[in-house]
Amino acid sequence: MNATIISYLSQSKEFNLIVAWFSELFGFDATSFVAFNLFGVFALLLIGFAATVGGLGTFAERKISADLQMRQGPNRVGPYGILQFLADGVKLITKEDIIPAQVDKFTFYIAPVLCLVGVFSALSVFPISSGFILTDLNVGIFYFLGMTSLVGVGIFLGGYSSNSKWSMLGGMRGASQIISYEIPVTITIVMMVLLAGGMSMGILVSSQGSSVLDWNLFHNPFTFIGFFVYFIAALAETNRAPFDLPEAESELVSGYHTEFSGMRFGFFALAEYIEVLIVCGIATAMFLGGYKVPFDLGTGELLNQKLGLDLMLAKNIGQFLEIGSFLTKTFALYYVVIWIRWTLPRLRVDQLMTLCWKYLTPIALFNLIGCAVWIYVFNGQSIVQLFSLLFKSSGGGH
């Protein structure tokens, strides 16, 4: 079965104590009951964390864009303005929920919920660390692909249900953009699955080493190009600038979320920021070594032996260090995403489609075939390994 957070926690004494206590209380074996409740608790924790990061993402965007434009961002609410996202949240919640009279009510209610459900479901395979990943599905990355497609359906329904021409145009552009850019994303993911040997997030991350040179980014030139292809295509999938034509504020009067007010608009915006977080996280996991820290602290061996700590405590410390390493890399990519938005102008819709179909898709296919040929010819060794073999053999085997 899959390795989940519960299978990691069940190694600890406290978990077994809780299970024994509940078994006494109920009379039957309470392992699955405790597991179910703990899953719920951790899922809520992860959703809360992602929503906080999404909210802080809006704040970070305003601060970083201010920095790029040589002005101050929000700096009144809280120290350095960091509570600004809470103020925005309160404003959105207390706004009047205006529903125009001619909208299609069922679709209007369901569209923002679909976006958010798709994004939150993709969080369940978010690879923050080797033990704390919520569930390490065998088909993890494939499931992630399916759930991000749900956001496209939500955008289309949002545009359609608003019964307004601006929204309809924005919705159709958004949906066609998402389904077009899914193709380079999928082909690049297939290439990385081929390289790593499995679809689960754990296998994708552990196929890379701990030091920088062992990352999948530097494995062969095809994965190097593949990283940029994935990054650009995934950025376009999240409707993020310079691909934000569906929600173009200067052209389409805010596109597909024109008619949504208050927290419904908040759902769309939150779904976009959390999706950027997820896309950066998956890019980190596939290309930048994910949560791997040097010295392989994840299993707690080093701390156990050198410092003599208890094994479970050492493992937990290793897990938190892994989470820290993963979040550092993800937030670095997040900064790059925000940087790109405030630097590049918006693409026209035909330039967008040309970029996808005439440039990114052929490059992704070429990468896939090239990577497969590389694996066959060099037995799956990276460039770094090949060079070290070359130097060793030319050194006469010393």
Binding site: S32, S149, I179
Partner: protein, 178 residues
Amino acid sequence: MFNDFLFLASAALTLGGAFAVVWVKDLMHACIYLMASLFGVAGLYACIGADFLAATQIVVYAGGVVILMLFAVMLTGGASNKTNRYGLEKIHAMGNTKTKMVAGISAFVIGLVILKIMVSVLKAQPVSQVGANENSVEKIGTLLASDHILAFEISSVLLLGALIGAAIISRPRKEIHD
């Protein structure tokens, strides 16, 4: 115990969605209920232990077919004339009570026929070991590349044909003015 709960929830979603596809009046809503039903089927695949199949179902159907249907509904919207070529009034496009009654009766009759065929299968169930859930991705990959390679290659040709065919059939044509 929670496997049973997952099975009941997925079955309810599947059958509820399918039933709603029969009854609702609006075509967009019917497409959304179809998507819900297909998610339920994906949940049922997950109950069986077919993880790759469940993920494929979600990717292909929710991310592909449903969006295709929604676009087609969008592109072919618009009211049409209410009378057909004989001058009689056309039946409402989403079915009125008479068509639903006819559908119910014919579905009932077909159901009885199928049950009569199936009753021998249902009675003669072999009580064999129910296999444990296992990692099916590598095994399916091996099967696709060894036992079912012909079907695999033919399906790729089929998809190519469908891609080109659908694009050519529905492309806009230039009006030829004399």
